[in-house]
């Protein structure tokens, strides 16, 4: 079909931020479709300015377009005004690259990075002109695929998706392409959909929910089992062994309009073995795979030259842990190409690895935003969550920052953690206050922005058995902090809405019985739930009640060891025994070391896949305790 642009453009004068819909970004492609090439529409189910910078989507966009048997374009959830205009005009979801209708594609592939986008997933499928329930689709409809961190428990959206991809996408998209391209070349005959889904289930890392039977006994989940012998009983995630073989994105998209993270982003390593027990990302992306120092330098200098950005972010789950981080930052700052005008930001920093050396390198150009995440307010709490950073480490990091001219830092904390007492909560206020005191030694204009989020236990983590705090309890804890900090002018307290935390809790550990709930919230107009102006808890609680489901049972209840969890048939490589023992250790406040620099404790992530860490340095890069337990008064467990 031809471009819908002539029909889309007349709608743009009446919508907010029309540049969301034009494409034209530097690095965007206009691939030529053919009957032989599997056509992927990569969709980020949130607003353009949130979705465009997503690196995962950009990586797959390039890899697929390099293949002779695939083409890939992009789409983002149209904002509510544009959605209404499209529906009134009878127009479908479209690609921003060549403005083709979504049904011109063979695969609609969604990135699910947060549970609150589930209703947008349904809305995009519906706007595409595809039945939202997978069982109603025919060979005439595209396949609906999902990837991203939420797929480690995709059961709440199992009714709406055809295939789920677990883990790194770089290799598996090509294997899926081979199956889909063959299906396309066969002319996608009537009745061929079950066959192609069965073939896709043979691809390692691909989970096809419709090929599994789910058995319940009352509320209790009994089993999720494959319906055919050739369909895997447990689907294992995909892991690329060496990040250096995947120097993507090579041509990062440069948007024409304002987006989040509007700068060059270079991924310096994937995976994290710090072992923070609340952190799903750290658990499901193991092991650590560093990109070589030389490749990082090349990607930075070529990326800056090509894009014209004056800021580069070195991304990972804990960037200061990268071997040789000071050299890399110093090299970028000193590069003659940068003319001393390129700022460096490290978005995810551990306080025990943030040194004066890094701070002074960064400060040479521009003092980019500094965010640290102590997560817990007391040492006891941080032992429970295995974030083994000492107060002295935090104050040392503050001194590094304030002494190098910063006057504003951000701190992130969680509340509602296992075994938490009011003393732990108030410890957050005390830490923030002490940080302000450190800053005042250097400047009078200190702001310590302190963000507090309610903890949502996530699948495939040691805390997956834990009962989440109620919104009432979270609000009470927030109020403790507000009261305690009301006279402290240097601390700016912010908190996440406990009502939204509740909905994340419903969706993150739910099972397939939540499908009708998500569908009902969507049908009542509950899209863009990550945006506070569109979020409404009553839509969710009403839908739960209408489906006869208990919020308390799904969210606030501790699970037993022998309970079958909805994601037990999906594996991130971690042994269930490892997770359970780590949960028990948490309850006794016992820590584990970082296995990058200490012996393996056999979590399963390396051994199960025959891979291992790729780390250039045998010791923690910045010295200090590094959260490895070295020199820290902590009871460590040996396994």
């Amino acid at each position: 079909m031809t471009s819908l642009w002539p029909r889309i453009e007349p709608l743009l004068a009446a919508v907010q931020k029309p540049a969301r819909y034009i494409g034209c970004e530097d690095g965007s492609q206009a691939p030529v479709h053919s009957p032989h090439a599997a056509a992927w529409l990569l969709v980020y189910p949130d607003a353009y300015e949130i979705g465009l910078p997503n690196q995962g989507l950009q990586i797959l966009y390039e890899i697929l377009n390099e293949r002779p048997d695939a083409v890939a374009e992009r789409s983002y959830a149209p904002w509510v005004d544009m959605e209404a205009a499209l529906r009134t005009a009878g127009l479908p979801l479209f690609s921003v690259d060549t403005h083709r209708p979504a049904t011109d594609f063979d695969v609609l592939a969604f990135n699910l990075s947060a549970e609150l986008v589930y209703t947008n997933l349904l809305n995009c499928i519906d706007l595409a002109g595809v039945p939202v329930r997978a069982e109603r689709r025919t060979a005439a409809h595209p396949l609906v695929a999902v990837g991203g961190h939420c797929t480690f428990n995709p059961e709440p959206v199992a009714d709406f998706v055809d295939l789920v991809v677990l883990g790194d996408g770089e290799e598996v998209v090509s294997e899926i392409t081979a199956v889909v391209a063959a299906w396309k070349r066969s002319g996608r005959p009537e009745g061929s959909r079950p066959r192609v889904l069965r073939d896709l289930a043979q691809v390692p890392g691909v989970y096809v929910p419709s090929l599994y039977d789910v058995v319940y006994d009352g509320m209790r989940l009994v089993s999720v089992t494959p319906r055919h012998p050739d369909v895997p009983a447990v689907v294992e995630k995909r892991t690329i062994a060496d990040l250096n073989q995947w120097p993507y994105p090579k041509s990062q998209l440069v948007p024409l309009t304002e987006v989040v993270h509007d700068r060059l982003n270079v991924e310096i390593f994937r995976g994290c073995t710090r072992g923070c027990r609340f952190c799903q990302a750290g658990m499901i992306t193991r092991p650590v795979r560093e990109r070589s120092n030389a490749q990082v330098r090349t990607m930075v200098s070529e990326g800056l030259r090509r894009t014209g950005y004056d800021e580069v972010s070195l991304t990972s789950l804990s960037s200061a842990d990268y071997s040789g981080i000071e050299d890399v930052v110093g090299g970028i700052v000193a590069d003659p190409m940068c003319q001393g005008s390129v700022g460096v930001s490290l978005p995810s920093l551990r306080v025990d690895a943030y040194t004066v050396g890094i701070a002074s390198q960064i400060a040479k150009v521009r003092r980019t935003g500094l965010t640290f995440a102590p997560e817990g307010g007391t040492w006891r709490m941080r032992q429970v969550i295995n974030k083994l950073i000492r107060e002295e480490d935090l104050y040392g990091a503050m001194e590094s920052a304030f002494s190098q001219g910063w006057n504003r830092v951000k701190l992130y904390f969680l509340i509602g953690l296992p075994t938490e007492t009011d003393e732990d909560v108030l410890g957050i206020a005390q830490l923030a206050r002490n940080c302000v005191a450190v800053g005042r030694r250097f400047t009078n204009r200190v702001t310590v922005s302190t963000s507090v989020g309610g903890f949502v236990p996530k699948p495939q983590t040691p805390f997956q058995w834990f009962g989440q705090d109620t919104p009432g309890e979270l609000s009470r804890k927030v109020n403790l902090l507000r009261h305690d900090l009301q006279r402290e002018r240097g601390v700016a307290l912010k908190w996440h809405d406990p009502k939204a935390t509740l909905v994340e809790g419903i969706a993150s550990r739910g099972d397939r019985r939540l499908g009708p709930v998500i569908e009902e919230v969507w049908r009542r107009g509950g899209t863009f739930q990550e945006w506070s102006e569109h979020f409404d808890l009553t839509r969710w609680t009403d839908a739960m009640a209408a489906a006869g489901l208990s919020v308390d049972w799904y969210v606030h209840r501790d699970r037993d060891r022998d309970e079958v969890l909805p994601w037990d048939h999906l594996s991130a490589g971690l042994h269930p025994d490892f997770l359970w023992h780590d949960w028990q250790d948490a309850l006794t406040a016992a820590g584990v070391e970082d296995c990058r620099w200490t012996p393996c404790y056999d979590c399963g992530a390396c051994t199960g896949f025959g891979i291992e860490h790729i780390v250039a340095s045998p010791t923690p890069p910045a010295g200090g305790s590094q959260g490895t337990g070295q020199g820290v008064p902590v009871r460590l467990v040996a396994r």
Partner: protein, 235 residues
């Protein structure tokens, strides 16, 4: 200190970007071609770039301007700059001229006195547009409601219409004053009783008028991006 003025066009899909978006595109383009610019002092140094009158989001133009200050001691091969800059800018943004500014010249915002526009309004009956133009030109006053800093005010826009004519049943050519406050083509359409949301709007020239003479901030060289209907807006 060398100051350079650029003239450029903004056509096609990129017209849906905003004035602020354009500012960021230019900053990236200057870094891509490694043009040494002067930077402001202070906490967060910015290149010394000044833009002219904002073009409304959604409007096209063949007559946009931008002034930059080169880094101290730096010089640039001016005739070569448009050819280097256009590929570093998004498709649809084309640099058509570059010229050195003499010292003492004012800013674009303070010097430009009027702009010429071509406005296409589809779907009107034959003669409807010409009649609306005649009524507007005959009126002593044209009062419209405008929002200014969150407050609704009533303004007479008639003095801001320097010239106005319809050249066919769907096309207006007009010259609108920028002082004391710039009159927008969409405001003109509202005053004419026409729906602005489906109009095609293109700025074709900007004028500096002083002491009975008028000139463009920087003339487009012959053969540069054409300005259809430009003849309707006599210089």
């Amino acid at each position: 200190m060398t100051r350079v003025r650029f003239r450029f066009a903004k056509l096609g899909k990129v017209r849906w970007t905003s004035h602020r978006d354009m500012a960021r595109m230019w900053e990236r383009a200057f870094r891509r071609i490694e043009l040494p610019l002067a930077y402001s002092q202070g906490f967060s140094p910015r290149p010394k770039v000044s833009f002219g009158l904002a073009l409304p989001t959604g409007a096209e133009s063949v007559s946009e301007f931008l002034d930059v200050e080169l880094a101290p001691g730096a010089d640039a091969d001016l005739p070569a700059l448009p050819g280097r800059l256009s590929p570093a800018l998004p498709v649809g943004v084309e640099v058509t001229a570059a010229g050195r500014l003499v010292d003492g010249g004012g800013s674009l915002q303070s010097e430009v006195t009027s702009c010429c526009w071509v406005v296409t309004v589809p779907g009107l009956d034959p003669g409807e547009l010409a009649a609306a133009v005649d009524r507007a030109l005959a009126a002593a006053a044209l009062v419209i409601g405008r929002e200014r800093k969150g407050r609704l005010t009533e303004d007479d826009i008639r003095p801001g219409i320097v010239a106005l004519e319809s050249i066919d049943d769907a096309t207006l050519v007009c010259e609108l004053a920028t002082m004391p406050r710039a009159l927008r083509p969409t405001e003109l359409l509202l005053a004419l009783g026409l729906e602005p949301s489906h109009a095609g709007i293109r700025r074709i020239s900007q004028w500096i008028e002083r002491d009975g003479a008028r000139w463009e901030p920087l003339a487009a060289p012959a053969g540069a991006t054409g300005a259809p209907h430009a003849a309707g807006c006599a210089s």
